[in-house]
Amino acid sequence: MTPVELALDTQLVLVLAGVVAAIAAPPRLRSLLAGVLSALLGLAGVLTGAWALAGRHGVVELPTALSLGPVTLDPTPLGGFFMVVAGAVGAVAAVFAIGYASGPAASRTSWVALAVFLGAMQLVPAAGDLVSFLLMWELMALASTVLVLTEHAGRAEVRTAALWYAAMTHLSFVLVLLGFTVLAHAGGGIDWASMSRVDPTSRTAAVAFLLLVAGFATKAGVVPVHVWLPRAHPAAPSHVSAVMSAAMVKMGVYGVLLVSIRLMPGGPAWWGAVVVGLGAVSAVYGILQASVASDLKRLLGYSTTENIGLIFLALGTALILRAHQVSAAGDAALLACLLLVASHAAFKATLFLGAGSVLHATGERDLDRMGGLVSRLPVTATAFGIGALGAAALPVTAGFVAEWTLLQAVIHGGRPHDRMVAVTMPIAVSVVALTAGLALVTFVKAYGIAFLARARSDGAAQAHEASPSMRAAMLIAACVVLILGLVPGALAQAAARAVGLPAGSAVTQVGFTHLGARLEPLAVLVLVGVMVTAVALIAKAAARKVPRREVELAWGGGGVRASARMQYTATSYAEPLTRVFDDALRPERDVVVTHAGESRYLVERVQFHQHVVDLVEDRMYRPMLTLVERLGVAGRRLQNGSIHRYLAYSFFALVVVLVVVAL
């Protein structure tokens, strides 16, 4: 038995153990036991993935009652990379859940679903053939639907969200199933090897590619099939949102990589253009919606759409550049894709766990009612701040390294070999730049409004720091963001191995010798650190002479300190952006002016109401849903309960059958 096989078996055992513990343990110990087992399950996933990345092999076959044969688990280096990501996120989230889960989230159902969800998710990339892949994929979808439903009893919007999620996730399943069926038919087998015999330039391959990309994009939350994402994330418990956002959507990315890099490498350039198009639209739309959102978890959900957009953009760029034999830049773009996957997993897990801690402490998801949490929740504030730095792609975090790599790839792909390259690259740079700018506003808003200034509600004023397991989970996730940002070389080497590229990076740096570009974040840290130390020393010397003094009113102007409600809120912070992008966001505004009785020049009260809706949902899905509903209502008229009418139906049906037979 090889180490990989042992680790795979361990995972299966741990899933079972987790399920048993969730069902059998007494309520007091349930969260602790099931949480520890789920965390171990995640660690086993990380270990399996790491061994698979190192090139170790191992096959585990599980006999099933299916006529299609056993479930085969056979992780490759590419799968291994995604197993590490999924396992690490799962482990951190499970540790967080030990302290966080309460009420319905600590129930038997919820813990069972979490163990199954984590297990299935980290085995999706390990699947060795189509049936195993689809089985794990569906198991992951079902378990996550149960988890989204956790709080259905208390909140009505949870039920709607779960319905949207279930519908979209099954749309994704159907599309993926169709796509693989086409591919399996053309290749003559359901194992990956026979499917990879399909000629990527053939028309069958094109059909399969489009179906599969559509299916995987739905799972990944790409515009316009992202609608489930901003609903499901606020509905699910925070540790579940963290896993879904940081790891589960990445399985969609794994799917596209599986199809375009492993099964059908060397596809035509328009494949890349399709992926770039999806990515560019998602990145800009996602961050635009995130920048004006004031529900913290909804904001993070939209930001996931943005990041998945960037990942797709990187992948599509790689496909285009490879199709045009610009291999050095193409390799860099592919590497950027995987770096973005890992960095997004790290910082989004941190941010969602941080949001969970804030929700736990204040009972608020609405940024407009937070404030001043930096002194009451110091650990959460630190972790969330590091995560926000990562999401805004600032040094020295993982997000910065990933975005730097993407921009290097795009800039060096700029040698005009082809019109498509010459058109795509500038657009890609503009999209990345605009997204980066808006991400900055979004996360300055999220951090600044929630953690700085004065409390805007009683909940925020009486907040308390999270329990030890929650704090530990947040800090671990935040440390990963920093470590991947400071010594990104190891990750870059692992990513290069996952997609079979030569490793060009040392441990402390990401570098591309062919492009003459390198990045050593430690050097950036040293430079900024030297400056900070120098300035801080001067400030300290000055402070010894004239210390800082705290006063009730520093620059009161009007005399009394204005109420905390007079501060800028998240909504007012985003107001300039809402106005600038008015045409793209189309917020619903409603101003009601009540006049005093005698004169219309005297105003008694002004009410202002503004609501930003998801335009895609409003313009694309609503009409479709209305149509379906109307058809349903019309269908009801056929069946009004009258026995005469049913007899008439049977009679006419018989006549039609006889006529058809006679002809």
């Binding site: 404030g371 921009l407 980066a436 808006l438 600044g448 990045l519 950036v524 300039p576």
Partner: protein
């Protein structure tokens, strides 16, 4: 090995002298701009040295802090100055010799610039007043819209060179002076100038001399800071202006920048930088006299215009290379 030590030593020399020169010059630059403006408006003005005197006064004063402010009120200003100082060390204003482990890559430079913007915006928010939040929100909106222009215009300049390292771009311009006047270069520099004006809060985007809170951007954010906190915020912003003006003028007129470390070369480089900055500051101040601040919601139009210029520059660079 010896060679790499030599490169590091000369890179460190250049970085240190850039920091020193800019720390000395930036307040004088502000003083010069205020004096030029005052003279053109028929006033006497405070003199070129006035910003230095203000700075000394602020550093010696007691900082007051409203109750309920967090440690960020103290840390934010320090971070802003540090990021500006790091920018001074990185950008190739005196010499194009860089640390092998820390090339002045465009994206690194922009990200350090943004780090300063974020520090300033959070200081504004931390004040917990309506004006602080207002300034911060406007400042971040402008930053978000400026970033695409900055990246795209330097991207246009980097395509012919094949590198995103600013020193390589400056060196390429020194080797081939004709490239400075190419359409790509002119379009990109025009776009970059507009972006720099917006990012440093000059007219017509923001009025640095305003006393009307409702129109403030930068001033609204620093309204609640005092003493050395305010001093750091001011120096940080002045340094940013100095570096960015220096970068634009170096890209436009690359002559004088040293490509290796010699005493004579350094002297020429410092004198050239002083001259370039003085000319740029005088020009900027003169133009500002004739300009009025535009409405906040007209600023995006300005930024969209500069973005189009930068995009044209990129497109042109493809055409030129292809042709």
């Amino acid at each position: 090995m010896n060679g790499s030590v030599g490169v590091n030593v000369s890179a460190a020399t250049f970085a240190t002298s850039q920091v020193l020169v800019l720390v000395v010059l930036s307040p004088l630059l502000i003083g010069l701009m205020r004096t030029v403006r005052a003279r053109l408006e028929g006033r006497v003005g405070g003199g070129v040295l006035q910003p230095w005197r203000d700075l000394r006064k602020l550093l010696l004063k007691e900082p007051l802090q409203a109750q309920g402010r967090s440690w960020w009120a103290m840390a934010g200003p320090v971070l802003l100055v540090s990021s500006s100082l790091a920018l001074c060390a990185l950008t190739p204003l005196l010499g194009t010799v860089t640390f092998p482990s820390l090339p002045d890559d465009l994206f690194v430079v922009v990200s350090i610039l943004l780090l300063g913007s974020v520090a300033l915006a959070l200081v504004g928010l931390d004040a917990g007043t309506a004006f602080g939040g207002m300034g911060s929100s406007r400042h971040m909106m402008i930053s978000a819209l400026v970033e695409p222009t900055v990246l795209l215009s330097v991207y246009a300049l980097s395509i012919p060179v094949g590198s995103s390292v600013l020193s390589r771009i400056v060196e390429a311009r020194l080797d081939d002076p004709a490239s400075v006047l190419s359409p790509v270069s002119l379009l990109a520099l025009l776009a970059l100038t507009i972006a720099v004006v917006a990012e440093t809060g000059r007219l017509p985007v923001d009025n640095p001399a305003t006393h009307l809170e409702l129109t403030m951007v930068h001033e609204a954010m620093v309204l609640e800071s005092s003493g050395r906190d305010l001093a750091w915020l001011e120096v940080g912003s002045w340094l940013r202006l100095g570096v960015l003006l220096g970068l634009v003028s170096t890209l436009l007129v690359p002559w004088g920048v040293a490509t290796d470390l010699t005493a004579a070369g350094m002297l020429v480089a410092v004198l050239a930088l002083v001259a370039k900055l003085a000319v740029a500051a005088t020009a900027l101040a003169t133009v500002e006299v004739a300009l009025a601040k535009v409405r906040l919601f007209r600023v995006p139009e300005l930024m969209a215009g500069s973005f189009v210029l930068a995009f044209l520059a990129v497109t042109a660079s493809y055409l030129v290379v292809q042709g």
